[in-house]
């Protein structure tokens, strides 16, 4: 087990280093002059020259790469051209909001997707199955930015059921200070029994979370259906049937547990995918997370920030996969053999 764990960790380190090389390439293959961006509008020539030095653009490439790597490892991820602050601190500020959004989306995906997948498997080939399968395939075919706009138009503007944008109503902050423990308003509100904050957070969370959840719901539904059907065809399931258990029991008590493992794996994959998907959704809902930060960085060609976000999400993804693999090895020793 330890050997496997060490191998996997070593692999992850290699992968992350490779991603760092990628982000270095991206952040130093720049068409527009980054020094001008840094110095800002109305800058003089001497200010631009100084910016060039600050950004290290006057050094040879190998020196830049070394500088870049040592910087990342020591916590210096560069300075954002747009906000003039450390990229890492910008990212840290934006992460809780994205966690809240993606977490809620995955929760919706699990709560909605698993029952739907089960229903679909239970009534395989009949009408409910077709309906659910159509729903699932629409989920994975949905352009997230379009769904965001439509939901905002219908549910916020026309029906006034939900607010338009933001994480919570900023007016609340004027009445009394917002607790800041995790940085996630919903959780902070729950921890401090701040019900207005909790209510406001939930209201603001509904629409964006539904949009981000559209793809995971589709994936989870299809996966649960496929795995459950696969398992229910196997010999041990036939034995369970012959013992007199109902289909319902078979699907519920016996098959689901076996279907669990790949679903968890897929969720980890989907988590990372959704994190990237938030780029499109957060801008529409003004959600102050990584996606919004990335979208604004892209708009302003803030390359250090773009590279920083890419690296960060990749690292999250690698760590998640590592954890899932290690957990799987813990529960299913067959994995260790391959």
């Amino acid at each position: 087990m330890t050997r496997y764990a060490l191998r996997r960790v070593g692999l992850s380190i290699i992968v992350v280093s490779g991603v760092m090389v990628l982000t270095f390439l991206i952040s130093h293959v720049i068409p527009a002059d980054p020094a001008v961006n840094w110095a800002g509008p109305h800058a003089s020539a001497s200010q631009i020259a100084r910016a060039r030095v600050i950004l290290g653009l006057n050094r040879p490439v190998w020196s830049q790469i070394l500088h870049y790597f040592s910087g990342i490892l020591s916590g210096n991820w560069g300075i954002s051209i747009r906000t003039h602050r450390s990229v890492l601190s910008d990212l840290m500020q934006a992460v809780p909001a994205s966690l809240e959004l993606v977490g809620a989306a995955i929760a919706i995906a699990v709560v909605v997707g698993i029952p739907l997948g089960l229903v679909s498997a239970r009534y395989a080939v009949k009408f409910p199955d077709h309906f659910v399968r159509l729903f699932a395939v629409i989920g994975v075919s949905m352009p997230a930015f379009w769904l965001a706009l439509i939901l905002q138009l219908v549910f916020s503007r026309d029906l006034h059921w939900f607010p338009t944008a933001g994480e919570y109503n900023p007016v609340l902050a004027y009445a009394h200070p917002i607790p800041h423990i995790t940085g996630i308003p919903l959780i902070d509100g729950l921890l401090r029994w701040d019900w207005p904050l909790v209510t406001s957070s939930l209201q603001h969370l509904v629409l964006p979370a539904c949009v981000v959840a559209s793809y995971p719901v589709g994936v989870v539904t299809r996966m649960v259906r496929a795995k459950v059907l696969e398992v229910s065809e196997e010999t041990h399931s036939q034995m369970i049937r012959s013992l007199g258990f109902s289909e319902r029991a078979l699907l519920g008590r016996f098959s689901l547990r076996l279907a669990w493992s790949p679903v968890v794996q897929v969720l980890a994959l989907v988590f990372a995918y959704s994190l990237a998907n938030t780029f499109l959704v957060e801008a529409v809902f003004d959600w102050p997370g990584l996606g919004n930060y990335a979208a604004q960085s892209i708009e302003t060609l803030d390359v250090p920030a773009i590279a920083g976000v890419t690296l960060f999400v990749a690292m999250v993804y690698v760590i998640l996969n590592l954890l899932v693999d290690l957990a799987q090895a813990l529960f299913d020793p067959r994995v260790l053999i391959s």
Partner: protein, 269 residues
């Protein structure tokens, strides 16, 4: 469901090919503008309304049907041309070559495709070419991986050993025996990927990183209509619907093809 997918895809192809004949205002899909009839609601004259410079949205949506599938075809072609040979070589020869190629694909796969494509596109000049390039770079690792798995499993088979024993050159073995077995999964994967590539490409143009105005790319149209959509809903709705329907049709088609061709994924017809 397969038949529904085929019909829709067929309709899309027809619209794309015959757009100049079907579109009521073909000039609006390129540089023509009509500043005195901007932002008109859908009417019989303009069934999808007009956009912020007075162009007929129906015509632009029709011409847009040429862009997304074109990008998807180009991307998948490049992905297979690059990924398949690499995967074959990695899977068949194994050893250090395999390790190196697999690590490289690991690195690319560690970053979610959309994110890597976004980051790349942001540093390139936005054109249809840069979109294709950026997405291709993120897509080839899947195919390399896929083919590598097939090649590795085939390599161990008896008849391959006999081929080697007979002195048949390796490239011939790869070409005539290994590759054909890898074809089916690759084709299945391509048909499944079509819809996803279209979504990714439209996401890139939504963020302004793809084709530019006046190209009638659907993602670009949604992006341009965003500022107006609360007061003029038609600018965003129709192009977005087009993206949804196109991706949906290709995904259903892909699902259907996979059910037919890949016995391991039988979906209980």
């Amino acid at each position: 469901m397969l038949s529904a997918g085929v019909i829709t895809v067929g309709a899309l192809v027809l619209i794309a090919v015959f757009a100049p004949l079907l579109a009521p205002f073909p000039g609006d899909a390129s540089v023509a503008t009509h500043p005195f009839s901007v932002l008109q609601a859908p009417t019989w004259l303009h069934p999808f309304g007009t956009d912020e410079v007075g162009r007929d949205i129906l015509s632009r949506v029709m011409y847009g049907a040429r862009i997304s599938p074109l990008i998807a075809v180009a991307v998948l072609l490049i992905a297979t041309v690059v990924g398949v040979p690499l995967g074959l070589v990695a899977g068949y020869f194994g050893g250090v070559l395999d390790d190196v190629i697999m690590r490289v694909t690991d690195i690319f796969l560690a970053v979610p495709a959309l994110l890597l494509a976004l980051a790349l596109s942001s540093v390139l000049t936005p054109t249809i070419g840069s979109t294709i390039a950026a997405i291709s770079v993120t897509w080839w690792p899947w195919y390399a991986r896929l083919v590598r798995g097939e090649a590795a499993s085939i390599r161990g088979r008896r008849y391959i050993e006999s081929c080697r024993a007979l002195g048949i050159p390796r490239w011939r073995i790869l070409w005539r025996h290994v590759l054909p077995n890898a074809t089916t999964p690759v084709l299945v994967q391509m048909s499944l990927d079509f819809g996803t590539v279209i979504l990714t490409a439209s996401a890139l143009s939504f963020l302004g990183l793809g084709v530019q105005d006046p190209s009638p790319d659907w993602g670009l149209m949604v992006s341009e209509g965003q500022a107006y959509f609360l007061t003029n809903w038609w600018l965003v709705t129709f192009p977005g619907l087009a993206i949804l329907i196109t991706a949906l049709a290709f995904n259903i088609l892909g699902d259907g093809l996979r059910d037919r061709l890949d016995p391991r994924h039988r979906m209980f017809q």
